[in-house]
């Protein structure tokens, strides 16, 4: 799952069967420092509660559809949660070596 910021909503009246009642959101994928990364995308809202401005995480590809009440639907990106708290480790903790790397002699 990746982090994203909800930018807005999309309404489509005429859409493929199975997509009725699914809320569509415009989301901007983010990197680890919450900076925008890549182009904005459209995601189905599996939480049904995400609003513009919120920090969310989303699941991509086939698993996007699995998050929805009807799982056999043409969806490849879904918002699966709204972030309350995000704790990213400080640089010194990230730099700590916790596995041994060897070379074959």
């Amino acid at each position: 799952m990746k982090l994203a910021r909800v930018l807005g909503t999309v309404v489509a009246t005429c859409k493929y069967e199975g997509l009725e009642g699914i809320k569509l959101l415009v989301v901007q994928p983010l990197d680890e420092e919450l900076r925008p990364r890549g182009l904005a995308e459209v995601a189905a809202d599996a939480t049904a509660q995400a609003a513009p401005g919120e920090l969310v995480f989303m699941v991509a590809s086939r698993e996007g559809a699995q998050a929805l009440p009807e799982t056999f639907v043409p969806v490849d990106l879904a918002v699966t949660g709204i972030v309350d708290e995000l704790d990213v480790a400080k640089a010194e903790i990230r730099a700590e070596v916790t596995a041994r790397w060897h070379e074959i002699e």
């Binding site: 590809s61 086939r62 698993e63 699995q66 699966t80 309350d84 990230r94």
Partner: protein, 103 residues
């Protein structure tokens, strides 16, 4: 699967039921030298990993559903192990001149 480093934790009250009671950790993928690449993922942890740990991550839906006992299950990335050792052949061994390629 890939090797990553746990770089953070994510807390969410509002989430899909598949994630209820699960620990979500931020993992940064490592390159062959063990350096972080900035290619991160939010993964479900089933290996009791903590921040700073070097971990093994599966990034595939069917495997994830099997591990978590879900069907359907909207989960892809799962931390399935904590890495102690990685042993690689030296970088030079992968140099293209060691392979004979004819076109």
């Amino acid at each position: 699967m890939y090797i990553g480093k746990v770089i953070g934790t994510v807390v969410a009250t509002i989430k899909i039921p598949h994630l209820d009671g699960r620990t979500l950790l931020m993992v940064d993928q490592l390159d062959l030298d063990g350096a972080q690449t900035g290619n991160y993922d939010i993964a479900v942890d089933v290996a009791q990993a903590g921040v700073g740990d070097t971990v093994l991550v599966i990034d595939e839906g069917n495997g994830a559903r099997q591990i978590l006992g879900l069907n359907p299950g909207a989960v892809r990335a799962v931390i399935v192990g904590i890495v102690d050792d990685v042993t690689l052949m030296s970088g030079g061994a992968l140099a293209p001149e060691l392979y004979s390629v004819s076109v």
